[in-house]
C-alpha cells in the first residue's frame, strides 16, 4: 500500500475541495431565511468529530447521523431516508 505523502499527492486537492464545499454550504444556509431543521442540526453536531484524535471518524459521524433506537417500529410513515434521524428517532 501507499504512504502519507502519496496519499496527499492523490487526495489533498479533492479533500480541500470537499472541505470548502462544506464551509460554503454552511455559509449558504446561514445566508438564507428559513426555519431550523433536524438535518442541519445533526450535520453541525457531527462536525466536531472531524477534529477528534481517533482512528474512526467516519464511523463516528455515521453513528451520529443514525437512528439509535432499538425496537422495530409499528409501521412506516414513508419509504425513504433523509440522512439524519427524525427527532423522535434519536432514542434519547
Amino acid at each position: 500500500m501507499t504512504d502519507r505523502a502519496k496519499l496527499l499527492d492523490l487526495q489533498f486537492i479533492e479533500s480541500r475541495h470537499l472541505l470548502i464545499e462544506l464551509a460554503a454550504f454552511l455559509d449558504r444556509m446561514d445566508r438564507h431565511a428559513g426555519n431550523g431543521d433536524y438535518r442541519f442540526d445533526a450535520l453541525k453536531n457531527a462536525l466536531p468529530i472531524l477534529l477528534e484524535d481517533r482512528p474512526d471518524r467516519a464511523k463516528a459521524i455515521l453513528e451520529a447521523l443514525s437512528d439509535q433506537s432499538a425496537e422495530p417500529i409499528p409501521q412506516a410513515a414513508f419509504q425513504g431516508a433523509f440522512g439524519a434521524p427524525l427527532p423522535l428517532q434519536t432514542g434519547n
Binding site: M1, E63, S66, D67, P72, I73, P74
Partner: protein
C-alpha cells in the same frame, strides 16, 4: 440490470466483466399486484440472461419481494408464494435482496420468512441493509433476527451495503459483507478501499450499484483502478473484484463462469 440500458452491458463487457448477479429489488414504484412480480421474476430469469449473453456476460439473479414492498404482509406473502416456481431456473442463485427498509415489524416478519424459504431450499442469501439513518438500527435488527436461525450457514449469507459503522459487526458474526459503491450519497470508492485496508479482504466483496438513482455499473473496475493508484498490488485487487465474489457465489452450483461461446 432491468433499470439499465443495453449500453451498460456493452460498457461492462468492454471493462472485462464476466458475470453480473442481480437481486430482485424495487421498481422505482410499488407494484399494484402480485402478478406484476410474476412478470418481473420472468424478466429476471428469462429476458435479462439473454440480453446479457449478447455481450458475453453471464447474468444471474436472486429472487424475493424487496423490503420496500414488504411492509404489507398479505401482499408480500402472495408474492412469496410465486417464488418457488422460479427457483428451478438455471440462473437463480438464491434469495435476495431481502431485509429491512424502515425497520418495521412487518418488514422483519417477512425478512424472517424469506430466510426460512432459503433454508428450506438450501440457498444462499443476499441481504439488503437500510439506507442512511436507518442502516445502523436495521443492521442490528438483521443480525439479531439471523441469530435465531441456528441451522443457517453464515458463510452462505452476504449482508450488503455495509459502511464504516456496520462492517465490523457483520464480519464478526461470520457473514460476508458487501460494499456497494455509489458515485454520491453512500459508499465511495476510497471509503470502500479504507474498509478493505482496516478489516482485511477475506469476506468482503465490492459491487456496483445499478439502480434507478445515480449509480455506475463500472464502479467496481473504477475502484480497482483506485486501488492500484493507492498502491494495492494486482493480486490483492484480483482477490477483491474477482476471486471473492466467485468464492461466495460458487456456493450455488448454478454459478458457472464457462465461456458463453464454448
Amino acid at each position: 440490470m432491468v433499470s439499465r440500458t443495453t449500453d451498460d452491458y456493452q460498457a461492462l463487457a468492454l471493462a472485462g466483466c464476466e458475470a453480473v448477479c442481480e437481486p430482485a429489488f424495487w421498481a422505482g414504484f410499488d407494484r399494484s399486484s402480485p402478478q406484476g412480480f410474476y412478470d418481473y421474476f420472468s424478466q429476471l430469469t428469462e429476458y435479462e440472461p439473454r440480453r446479457a449473453a449478447k455481450f458475453g456476460i453471464r447474468h444471474f439473479s436472486w429472487l424475493c419481494i424487496n423490503p420496500k414492498e414488504a411492509d404489507d404482509p398479505v401482499f408480500a406473502r402472495e408474492v412469496m408464494s410465486l417464488i418457488p416456481q422460479f427457483l428451478g431456473a438455471a440462473t437463480v442463485l438464491g434469495i435476495g435482496e431481502i431485509g429491512l427498509n424502515k425497520n418495521t415489524r412487518n418488514e422483519l416478519a417477512i425478512f424472517e420468512e424469506h430466510v426460512q424459504l432459503a433454508l428450506d431450499h438450501d440457498l444462499p442469501i443476499l441481504i439488503h441493509t437500510p439506507h442512511l439513518e436507518d442502516k445502523l438500527k436495521g443492521t442490528r435488527l438483521t443480525l439479531d433476527a439471523l441469530a435465531n436461525f441456528p441451522a443457517l450457514d453464515r458463510a452462505k449469507v452476504i449482508i450488503d451495503h455495509v459502511e464504516e459503522h456496520t462492517v465490523a459487526p457483520v464480519l464478526e458474526a461470520g457473514y460476508w459483507a458487501g460494499l456497494t459503491l455509489y458515485p454520491h450519497s453512500k459508499c465511495s470508492l476510497d471509503r470502500a478501499i479504507d474498509m478493505l485496508e482496516v478489516h482485511g479482504p477475506d469476506r468482503l466483496w465490492m459491487n456496483s450499484a445499478c439502480d434507478w438513482g445515480v449509480s455506475d455499473p463500472l464502479a467496481v473496475p473504477k475502484c480497482a483502478l483506485r486501488m492500484k493508484a493507492r498502491g494495492h498490488p494486482a493480486p490483492a485487487i484480483e482477490q477483491v473484484i474477482h476471486e471473492n465474489p466467485r468464492r461466495f457465489l460458487s456456493q450455488s452450483p448454478r454459478f458457472v463462469l464457462e465461456s458463453l461461446t464454448s
